[in-house]
């Protein structure tokens, strides 16, 4: 089929069309009101015109066009096709036919005459509209070509539905690249949030720099099909460089990627000087203020004294704010309002920094406390005739002021013990080949969210055998039972436990270490002992940075939610069915180590059925690890600690409460008590089993 000469196909088609046209015109004589006939005639004419032009019958196209234009009023129904008009139309048809079939022997005078006749019947409105339109385009070209330029800067903004119309903006960028070296930067500020994003829409805009000597027409050509579906801002590159844009205006354009090429320098230039002025003005005022304040500031530049209660109050307010902010965040994240989300995020950030600043304001270097002990050590060493060198390190380590006050008494106890029990007397030191002077080190150091305070002596170390004997004597362990040294040392923290053979003014009454331990644990800290015979003893206190806000792990047991201080959490594991099966023996195998666990559901007497997959949170205090079995681990939670009321002071499992984002309360688990409970339980099970 494709081998057939298309011109021949056109001639055949034209012959058919002429028959249709003639038939329609003749029928119009009978039924001048039949619109369908008019349309039919027009369609035939139209095709002849279009195809004729295609196959080189330019005269046909030109004449048909004129004829069609003249006939336009008939088509619109404004003029009824009279007999005379139809006669002219038929003549025109014959003429066109002659143009196609025998172009050489057809005189154009006939055609002109026919057209003149036609124009007599119809008013000649806008007959020359088309040629005018054609002239416009070439006129624009020379102007654009007149001046040479380095290229173009384009800003392309397409209508969002452009992809639906089968146009691919990337293809257009491709076409631009063919014109010269092209650098296109997508502008993404129009992309909406995911939930509002229509996948078939185009949200991207492009900022394009095109280095090419092409003229504007070539660029218009690229966008010819979409010129009315896009905003194309076009500026010659050179011309832009010539614009003596104020430097500040240009900077803003770069920083904000301000894309409106032509508009930017003009619009942005206005605010720029203002912006430039503002900081300058501020500086000026600041400078003058400084000058005015200088004499005063020199005196009290370092600190402002604030009543401690005010700081406490401030911390309370910040705590409330953090809770309210958590609620806002939860509310915002459940909705779809973008602006609320943004505000919630902003407030979250502000609340966090306000919290840190407030907490920072409460922080005091621990050095203020250490200073007090110099006198204590001095007095003790003189009284006991034990020369002691007292060394302190990390004085500038900061701790919450409240904690520092709470720390004073425990540290006094520990230092007393170190001198009284730890450091040997002169004779024994000499026998052991040690220096005459004992040494006590008091150190404070940051470790993550905790502060470690250690009291270290280079004395004789703990006498494990004597502690054991004492424990057996008091019935704390069965004689001959296998107990690790570390466990034996823990007896030092038992109430009423003292191995001191003589009760001195300083120690030996057994009211020291248990009080120390309780005080530290009340601060949610922990205490550790380590000792080497003949080398000394180290007591380490682990303390949280602050009392007011902690990082917590939010868990769920039944319908209730609880917080475990994150500092105590070691890891989370799934409770395997085989771990649950061993009834009466609550031990969990964690990488080969047996860890006792507590089922919180049983502990809290939770009703209802447990979740299928139970989770175990391994917590630790010092060396001891214990698993807590919960229904669900929800996640990290910024926990503002609220103390329980006096009515609940006898509740031992919980150290406090907090308020969650949804306004409900969650209890904070007392890790120390739970570990003790788990140990007691496992001991009971062991003894039952035995």
């Amino acid at each position: 089929m494709s081998s057939i000469d298309p011109t021949e196909v056109f001639r055949q088609e034209a012959a058919e069309l002429f028959e249709t046209l003639e038939g329609a015109l003749l029928d119009l004589c009978q039924r001048p009101d039949d619109r369908e006939l008019v349309d039919q005639a027009f369609r035939a004419l139209h095709t002849i015109k279009g195809s004729g032009a295609m196959f080189g019958f330019d005269k046909v196209a030109a004449f048909t066009h004129e004829f069609e234009t003249a006939f336009e009023l008939v088509r619109k129904g404004e003029i009824k096709p009279t007999q005379e008009l139809i006669a002219v139309a038929l003549a025109a048809k014959d003429y066109i036919r002659a143009l196609i079939e025998a172009p050489e022997s057809t005189d154009s005078i006939i055609g002109d005459a026919i057209l003149d006749d036609l124009k007599q019947f119809v008013a000649p409105p806008g007959a020359a509209a088309a040629p005018v339109a054609e002239k416009e385009a070439p006129a624009a070209k020379p102007a654009a070509q007149a001046q040479p330029h380095a290229g173009w800067r384009l800003y392309l903004e397409f209508d969002s539905h452009i992809l639906c119309n089968g146009c691919n903006p990337l293809d257009l960028l491709d076409d631009l690249c063919k014109l010269g070296s092209c650098f296109a930067v997508p502008v993404i500020d129009g992309i909406p949030m995911l939930e509002e994003l229509e996948p078939e829409y185009c949200y991207l805009k492009w900022d394009v720099t095109l280095h090419s000597d092409c003229d504007k027409a070539a660029i218009d050509d690229v966008f010819m099909f979409v010129s009315d579906e896009m905003k194309l801002t076009l500026a010659p590159l050179e011309a832009q460089a010539e614009i003596p844009a104020p430097a500040s205006g240009l900077q803003i354009e770069l920083v904000e990627a301000e894309p409106a090429v032509e508009v930017a320098p003009v619009v942005e230039a206005a605010p720029a000087p203002v912006q430039a002025k503002e900081p300058a003005a501020k500086e000026a005022t600041a400078a003058s203020e400084q000058r005015r304040d200088e004499p005063k500031r020199a005196e009290n530049i370092a600190t402002v004294r604030v009543q401690a209660e005010r700081l406490d109050e401030l911390m309370d307010r910040v705590g409330e704010l953090v809770i309210a902010q958590a609620r806002l965040t939860q509310l915002a994240s459940s909705g779809s309002d973008l602006s609320i989300k943004m505000i919630a995020e902003e407030i979250e950030r502000l609340a966090a920094s306000l919290r840190d600043t407030t907490m920072g304001a409460r922080m005091v270097p621990i050095g203020s406390l250490f200073g007090r002990f110099r006198r204590l050590v001095h007095d003790l060493s003189r009284d006991l005739a034990k020369p002691v060198e007292f060394v302190t390190m990390g004085e500038d380590t900061e701790l919450d002021k409240t904690m520092i006050e709470c720390l004073a008494d425990p540290l006094v106890h520990l230092i007393r013990n170190a001198i009284d029990h730890g450091i040997e007397d002169n004779a024994r030191r000499a026998a052991a080949g040690k220096t005459e002077k004992g040494r006590i080190e008091l150190t404070a150091v940051h470790s993550g969210a905790q502060v470690l305070v250690t009291v270290k002596d280079n004395g004789g170390g703990l006498n494990t055998a004597r502690i054991r004997a004492k424990a057996e004597e008091q019935g704390l362990i069965a004689p001959g039972a296998t107990v690790s040294d570390n466990e034996i040392h823990q007896f030092l923290f038992h109430p009423g436990f003292s191995t001191a053979q003589t009760i001195s003014a300083l120690s030996g009454r057994g009211v020291g270490m248990d009080v120390v331990k309780r005080t530290i644990e009340n601060m949610r800290g922990s205490i550790d002992l380590s000792t080497r015979p003949g080398e000394g003893t180290t007591v380490t206190l682990r303390l949280p940075l602050t009392l007011a806000i902690i990082e917590g792990l939010l868990i769920r047991v039944g319908g209730g939610r609880y917080i475990i201080p994150l500092s105590a959490v070691e890891e989370c594991v799934e409770l395997m069915p085989e771990d649950q099966r061993s009834r009466g023996r609550n031990f969990l195998n964690v990488r080969g180590n047996l860890v006792p666990f507590l089922k919180l559901r049983e502990l809290f007497r939770t009703k209802g059925s447990a979740d299928q997959h139970q989770k175990t949170i391994i917590i630790s205090t010092g060396e001891t690890r214990v698993g807590l079995v919960a229904d669900q681990i929800i996640g990290n939670h910024q926990t503002v600690i609220k103390s329980l009321s006096k009515l609940h002071s006898d509740v031992t499992m919980f150290s406090g409460a907090t308020i969650l984002g949804d306004g409900t309360a969650a209890l904070i688990l007392d890790v120390v008590q739970l570990v003790a409970a788990a140990q007691a339980q496992s001991e009971k099970q062991i003894s039952e089993a035995a």
């Binding site: 055949q12 195809s51 089968g166 491709d174």
Partner: protein, 121 residues
């Protein structure tokens, strides 16, 4: 290479398009009016549709609108043929969903350029 559907009631135009595009490696499917065009577009999923506007049974404007409603043919480039540079008509066709247009008379190179512009391999 692209599959092009040409919809025109004039066999000579269809022929013209065919003899222009086939030597360039494209395959051409023909339809004589809008209704046929719609059916063939659904059946053969062309890469490009070239349609006349003045056609019996279903005109080009209706064809464009119907094609745009086909969920399987989203993003299909549609080019319409127009004789006069009638902006109102162009506007109507564009808002119906046309991608571009070719003004009759056109030279074979122009047709090939439009196909190359709208269809990427």
């Amino acid at each position: 290479m692209a599959t092009v559907l040409t919809v025109d009631d004039s066999p000579s135009i269809r022929q013209m398009i065919k003899v222009t595009l086939e030597p360039a490696g494209h395959s051409v499917i023909e339809a004589g009016d809008g209704a046929q065009g719609l059916a063939k577009a659904q059946a053969s999923r062309p890469d490009l549709v070239i349609t006349d506007l003045n056609m019996p049974v279903m005109n080009g404007m209706e064809l464009i609108r119907s094609l745009r409603k086909q969920p399987t043919l989203t993003g299909l480039p549609i080019v319409f043929l127009t004789t006069e540079s009638n902006d109102a008509l162009k506007q109507e066709a564009k808002s119906a969903g046309a991608t571009g247009w070719i003004t009759k008379p056109f030279k074979p190179e122009q047709l090939l350029a439009v196909v190359a512009k709208l269809v990427r391999s």
